[in-house]
């Protein structure tokens, strides 16, 4: 099933990649785009539905003001122009998850257009800014959810039938489409990832969406084409769907470059089609052909009234935009008293917002940074997920940090507690109790372990006594091992010296 690929570096020698990114973001409005049903995630099937979002005969859409305001605010944050007059259009096609068999969307009159977003990427020549031009950001509605039943795989192919839940149908979506992104060269994967990450940060900052890629509230389609050189026309592109993590954005671009290059070098053509990204295997597979243009029979939605945002309204919305991310970074660098490099590390690790919320909740900047760029980053990397996807809250971190400060936990134990938190075993205190992770500070057992360690290695006592205090390390290590990490190392040291009658 897997197609031939060639090495990425090899592909880049032969071809110039051109990216295009389409991001769908589900808005965090209380109600759906065109009816008063809840947008809450989860919920029993078909309980967040009404005649409108079920497309029952006779029902009519009623446009959500906040949906429009969110769209405008997103456009402004992406440096877009805001239309002075625009309409919704119907995109007509039949599909069971779409209740009306047309999607209420925008066609040739998007509410936001002609914007850009600058993203920073590390290159061989240092950090470099790439400008990603935004073609448009428009409003539309989400579809319901199909579950494929029967067959062996639970996948669409080979399924016997499907079950449809329309809770998600009608949730407001903003589709943000870039112009073709050229000039990235070998950094195409990094630029794609940096763009989606930056977009996500902006959307989160705007408070318009919870931007959870894993729950599908931020979804990314990656278009990629290759051409022999920047002087050539754009090549045929593939559209990879279902790219639902930042890491996958990067990986899927990398994969498509190597796949398309292999085809082209073998004298084959790239097929214009949608492709599905497989997180587990790291490959894309062929989906629906797009060789024949779909005939969506767009026409202006007659049930909705045109939107004509006054310039006053737009300016009012502009005034609600949060601080520009670059300005904010400079400010935080100063208040937290960290270096620019340290700030960059936070940004690269994608944890700036997380650190900020932890600090806002009372944690010290140093402690918050230590956790998010240290242990949490390590675990996330190990698992191939984003730090935030680990689901550790700053409340939990603050508790762990407080226990370290009082000596009830040491670093090693703290890591084990964190492991429990990530595994959702309970709150911090119950994990400590159930895993038995409290620091042993009772001198009795510690002294016993010290005596045993000295007995096992008699020479060490002499060394310490003769002033080679660094030799104490091996005893402390042995005691820690004997107590499975639960000893307070500082106390062990004190007891050791007292036992030997040596002063430090």
């Amino acid at each position: 099933m897997a197609e031939p690929v060639i090495a990425f570096d090899q592909a880049l020698k032969e071809f110039d990649p051109v990216l295009g990114l389409e991001v769908h973001v589900e808005l965090g409005t209380r109600t759906k785009m065109f009816c008063g049903c809840s947008t809450e995630f989860g919920g029993e099937p078909n309980t967040h539905v009404c005649p409108v979002c079920l497309g029952l005969p006779g029902s009519l859409p009623a446009l959500n003001r906040i949906g429009v305001e969110s769209a405008i605010r997103i456009g402004l944050a992406l440096n877009c122009e805001i239309a002075t007059w625009c309409r919704f259009a119907r995109k007509n096609y039949f599909y069971p998850d779409m209740p009306k068999n047309f999607q209420t969307s925008q066609y040739d009159e998007p509410i936001c257009f002609n914007g850009y977003l600058d993203v920073d990427v590390d290159t061989d020549e240092g950090r470099k800014t790439f400008r990603v031009e935004i073609e448009r950001a428009h409003m539309e509605e989400d579809t319901g959810k199909n579950t494929h039943m029967g067959g062996a795989t639970g996948r669409i192919h080979g399924a016997d039938y499907s079950l449809v839940d329309y809770n998600r149908a009608g949730i407001p979506l903003i589709e943000i489409v870039t112009k073709p992104i050229t000039g990235t060269g070998k950094y195409a994967p990094e630029v794609a990832k940096a763009y989606v990450a930056a977009l996500r940060d902006i959307l989160r900052g705007l408070g318009v969406s919870d931007v959870k890629m894993e729950q599908g509230s931020l979804r990314c389609d990656v278009n990629l084409s290759l051409r022999p050189s920047p002087e050539h026309e754009l090549g045929t592109r593939s559209e990879t769907k279902n790219v639902n993590s930042l890491r996958s954005v990067e990986r899927s671009v990398r994969y498509e470059v190597t796949r398309q290059a292999a085809r082209l070098l073998a004298g084959q053509r790239v097929v214009q089609e949608t492709r599905h990204w497989h997180e587990d295997t790291g490959v894309t597979t062929s989906g629906r052909s797009k060789e024949q243009a779909e005939d969506y029979r767009y026409f202006p939605e007659p049930d909705l009234i045109p939107i004509a945002p006054s310039r006053e309204w737009v300016e009012e919305l502009r005034s609600t935009l949060p601080e520009n991310p670059a300005v904010r970074r400079a400010r935080l660098t100063k208040t937290w008293n960290i270096s620019e490099l340290e700030m960059e590390n936070l940004i690269n690790a994608g944890v700036l917002e997380l650190v900020e919320s932890a600090v806002n909740a009372g944690m010290s900047p140093d402690a918050a940074r230590k956790w998010y760029t240290g242990e949490l980053a390590r675990v996330a990397n190990e698992r191939g997920v984003e730090v935030e996807e680990l689901g550790v809250t700053h409340v939990e971190l603050a508790r762990i940090e407080a226990l370290i400060a009082t000596g009830a936990l040491n670093d090693k134990l703290a890591r084990q507690v964190l492991e429990g938190v990530i595994a959702r075993e309970g709150d911090v205190d119950s994990i400590i109790a159930s895993r038995g992770l409290a620091v042993v500070s009772d001198d009795g057992p510690l002294l016993e372990a010290i005596v045993a360690a000295l007995a096992a290695d008699p020479e060490v006592a002499e060394k310490i006594a003769s002033g080679k205090v660094q030799a104490a390390g091996s005893v402390v290590g042995a005691v820690m091992k004997a107590t499975r990490g639960q000893a307070d190392a500082a106390r062990v040291r004190e007891l050791l010296f007292a036992h030997l009658g040596v002063s430090e």
């Binding site: 009404c50 005649p51 079920l54 497309g55 029952l56 005969p57 006779g58 029902s59 009519l60 859409p61 009623a62 446009l63 119907r90 007509n92 039949f94 069971p96 209740p99 009306k100 068999n101 047309f102 499907s162 449809v164 243009a293 005939d295 029979r297 767009y298 026409f299 007659p302 049930d303 909705l304 009234i305």
Partner: protein, 497 residues
Amino acid sequence: MSELIRKDASELSALLQAGDISSVELTQAHLDRIDAVDGKVHAFLHVDHQGAIASARAVDERRSNGDALGPLAGVPLALKDILATKGLPTTVGSRMLEGWIPPYDATVVTKLREAGIVILGKTNMDEFAMGSSTEHSAYGPTHNPWDLERIPGGSGGGSSASLAAFEAPLAIGTDTGGSIRQPAAVTGTVGVKPTYGGVSRYGVVALASSLDQVGPCGRTVLDTALLHSVIAGHDPMDQTSINSPVPAVVEAAKRGDIAGMRIGVVKELGGDGYQSGVRQRFDEAVVVLQSLGAQIVEVSCPSFDFALAAYYLILPSECSSNLAKFDGIRFGLRAGDDGTRSVEQVMSQTRAAGFGDEVIRRIILGTYALSAGYYDAYYGQAQKVRALIAQDFAKAFAQVDVLISPTAPTTAFKIGEKLDDPLAMYLNDIATIPVNLAGIPGMSLPIGLAPEDNLPVGIQIMAPAMADDRLYNVGAALERALLAQWGAPILSSMAGV
């Protein structure tokens, strides 16, 4: 025949308010009438005997408790089967929705219920309101009470026939290209298409969203106005509904004073293609209007010659999209699901089985007109023609207060006569369509019988948007003068069912 059923809604309202009759008694009289004659007329697709009596009883109780009730509380009504009714079947005259019971009420239905109006049942119609004869109903045609071999107009033939057959004193219709006015004309009743946006469309199964409008039907101008004032008004559930006060239609219907008014006769809506008796009665009505003090002028609206063509592009385009939801998944019919077919095949079989020929024709036509290669030439061009028609109206209304024309080119034709000739059928709406394209209000009012066939003829009165009251003012004046001339309402000359 009970005398009650021959009375106008306004008279019944007075009797109810005076306590002379009860709503249960009145409702029962109409149900009895329906039981007696609807086998021949077939105005109803569903008669809600129990529900109607229960509503009537509730109104009677409220009245005896001294509750404040609207003028039409306790008066029965026939509801076109295109409005969603919670707990009552809603078929839209189609097999597609056979047995479907909506989980919600249309806003108009809510307003009717709140006004204490008793819903007798759901009336027959051309399938999805596509037609001018009610012959396209999947449940068989409705017969014109004036001559059972003739059509009662369409698409709202059930509503107009129920009024003419004294099965109901009031009815609700919908009008996309004439579906209230043309049936009113051919049955000798009154029907009004309000200003687009004047009445909520929420819960009205859509044919063409930018043309559809719900409206009142009655046997007199005043009855129609009373019903108009109940159903009209802004509805947040329909964002195309107009958020301004309802025109004072009842006052206008009581006034009926047109002295000094300027009335325009539309040159393009008459003459060739109009039956001689229709033309004759129309010309006589113009004389009557003049005698009442109105100033008559001829007005030319040259774009109207293109209205039918524009309409038969816009309507199929919108309906091809509106009717896409009928796919056998969430409600209604499903055909061909034998476990081997894909969802696409089942949808296609369902739509072939559930839709009649006329519906399929229009969906195919609309699919074509919206296709990428044809959009500009067809849908786009039709929308521009539409703008020109609206401009013609605007220019005309700069000169005159209202416009008039015959409502329909002919009186009621024979059932089956035009069934196989869609184009001939479409011509029935030639005079009513411009009003829908421009979104303005229009009324049809009986002006006598055509001498050659003794069948009713209607006059169409048209007014600027949100000036619906002018229709009632002119209508009331003309109705009063004609009644004085005739000595009795037009329906009294009907042989009877």
